[in-house]
Symmetry: C2
Subunit: 369 residues, 2 copies
């Protein structure tokens, strides 16, 4: 039996490779003769740089600011001529100091700093920014400011690049960057509106509920100033990813691509699917969002094209996800063996994953596709 | 697709029939053309009387004592010429008053009262006692006392039938009962020793850990007095079930049978297995005990004899249960969709069961046996 394991990272507990290896070790314990290949994958969020590293990329340490402007030891990955930058590194959500959980005071400046440093590296001819996992909601203003863009208020005074000042910006001088710039999105949201960056993700980033509407309006205003009358970057799916950094990538002359699709190509996913009898994918939380371009969906669709059966091992499942079965998923298996707390599930994720894989293995062995 | 659903009750949340109906409703929502039969089953514990009722038995109300000697509104089921009595009714574990959780002060007297009342009913020609789910650990002394057996100490004074006085009994006058008496066991434990009634189940019934050894010795002493030199009822598998009521059934001239096997015969399980394409079974907690005569194991073994594939839907799974797969189980599926508390799982058991069944249904549809 040839098994391809390509699972997303389980946020807060296991990387894609660690999760995949836990699955492989469970399967091999019971079925030692099976041929198992573990691929690291990611959907454009955390873990994207790790895949580039796995494929030969080198970590380049780089200082930057976090979302509250504090000095932060960041890094990016140099992979051949490409810089891979995760927004989660510089501009990820910061929880240790709860007094600082003010979603309106955040900036994406640090990610801009990393891009700037990468652009100045002699070996870099293009920059890829993995947009998932951000903690900021500033429309990408900080990112642009770090890259020599300037923002002024009605009195022509500079405006500090924080979410709370977006509404003050009356003039923007954007400096398009000169090397290819690609943003990898894990969500397809536009910049503003009910499905936008503020409404969809603001609450989990600490934006108070009474501020959501006005911040959304501020961001719409900011977008009008930046893009002018001739562009509509704010409407492009993905512009709202990373609190609006997707929009900033577009404004700087870059493009957006599906993170899961791009990473799938990096690891030659299609070839490995062709090789395998079964494909095991998975993610921390499988729900209706999964069907909208998340990694499990990409793996499933690509397997379906080759008529290969898929099993999803998940931290949790919710809602109606029946379309996955119509696309060739045979089994969605939760790793929790029974009632237990999220904390326990995260702490022992490796054991539960391994154990779930053993059960899945017996089902695979007996249920021929 | 013809599906037989025969799941054990989920203790504290769903009866066998309720659990089975939740599964059926999930399957029918997504696969309305499937032919689904739900059988109520039980393993000789709680739910056994409900199966007899489902098959046409009548509830007969009957007063009795609970394990602390308090008056209790009990019942038994009259099914044709047979009385079905659950020890859980009179002698089940009582939790409301925590001051009373003294495992050493319990008696099985109430179950004896129900047997006595059933025996005196004109239509009853045999009595079946379902031994699972008891809260007492008195070696069945109470049960026997309610049926005219007498117990004396060394001064020839009567001994009260409580676990704490077992060690005082120096003489026993047993009155064998005159109609057939069958005890249905859900465990195969002997009366005493490391795998016996006290050591295995005493702790969960409120016997303090420092009392376990001496209570086990008291019970061994009591058994020697009751059975005399010519019998070894205490060693018979199941003698230790229901805190020793299995032993009492044997001492009264009765026999022990596997509850799951007997109930399986009541509902013509083999015929329905023959009819079905897939068999869905399940229980609250699937673990290594399952393989020792529990309902899921019986359903699996009987299905295996007919080469029919089995799916188990479980509240939780633990330990290595791989032998089930070797017996034809294709999938063991936990009903919890992710990390959640036991309380939440129990409260919403019906929903989780239904939802799990939908997922299982898609897997069955696609994985041909």
């Amino acid at each position: 039996m040839k098994i391809l394991v390509a699972v997303d990272s389980f946020k807060g507990s296991l990387s894609s490779l660690d999760a995949g290896r836990a699955i492989a070790s469970g399967l091999l314990e019971v079925f030692p003769s099976w041929d198992i290949r573990v691929l690291p994958v990611a959907d454009g969020g955390e873990g994207t740089a790790a895949v580039a590293q796995f494929l030969g990329g080198k970590i380049i340490p780089a200082e930057c600011q976090d979302i509250y402007g504090r000095l932060h030891a960041g890094y990016w990955v140099l992979w051949n001529d490409t810089a891979i930058i995760e927004v989660a590194v510089a501009s990820g959500f910061v929880t240790p100091d709860k007094r600082l959980r003010d979603g309106d005071a955040t900036t994406s400046y640090g990610t801009g700093q990393l891009i700037r440093q990468a652009l100045s590296h002699p070996d870099v001819s293009r920059v890829i920014v993995a947009l998932g996992g951000s903690g900021s909601t500033d429309g990408g203003m900080g990112l642009m400011a770090a890259l020599d863009c300037d923002f002024f208020d009605q009195d022509h005074n500079p405006v500090k690049p924080l979410g709370r000042y977006l509404g003050r910006v009356m003039e923007a001088r954007i400096q398009p960057i000169t090397k290819p710039l690609i943003g990898l999105t894990d969500v397809n949201v536009p910049l503003t509106g009910t499905n936008g960056a503020v409404m969809m993700f603001g609450p989990q980033k600490g934006v108070p509920s009474q501020r959501l509407n006005s911040l959304d309006q501020d961001m719409a205003h900011f977008a009008q100033i930046v893009q002018g009358p001739n562009h509509h970057w704010d409407d492009i799916p993905g512009a709202g990813s990373a609190g609006g950094m997707g929009f900033a990538i577009l404004a700087l002359g870059g493009i957006l691509q599906s993170g899961a699709e791009v990473v799938a190509n990096w690891v030659s996913l299609d070839e490995w699917i062709n090789w395998a009898d079964w494909i095991i994918t998975g993610e921390g939380k499988l729900d209706s969002q999964t069907l909208q371009g998340k990694l499990v969906n990409i793996v499933t669709e690509r397997s379906h094209l080759q008529n290969k059966p898929v099993v999803a091992i998940v931290g949790s499942r919710a809602g109606r996800v029946e379309d996955l079965y119509k696309k060739g998923v045979r089994l969605i298996y939760p790793i929790v063996p029974g009632p237990l707390s999220l904390d326990e599930a995260m702490t022992n994720a490796r054991c539960y994953m391994r154990d779930a894989a053993i059960h899945v293995g017996f089902t695979l062995e007996q249920c021929h596709p």
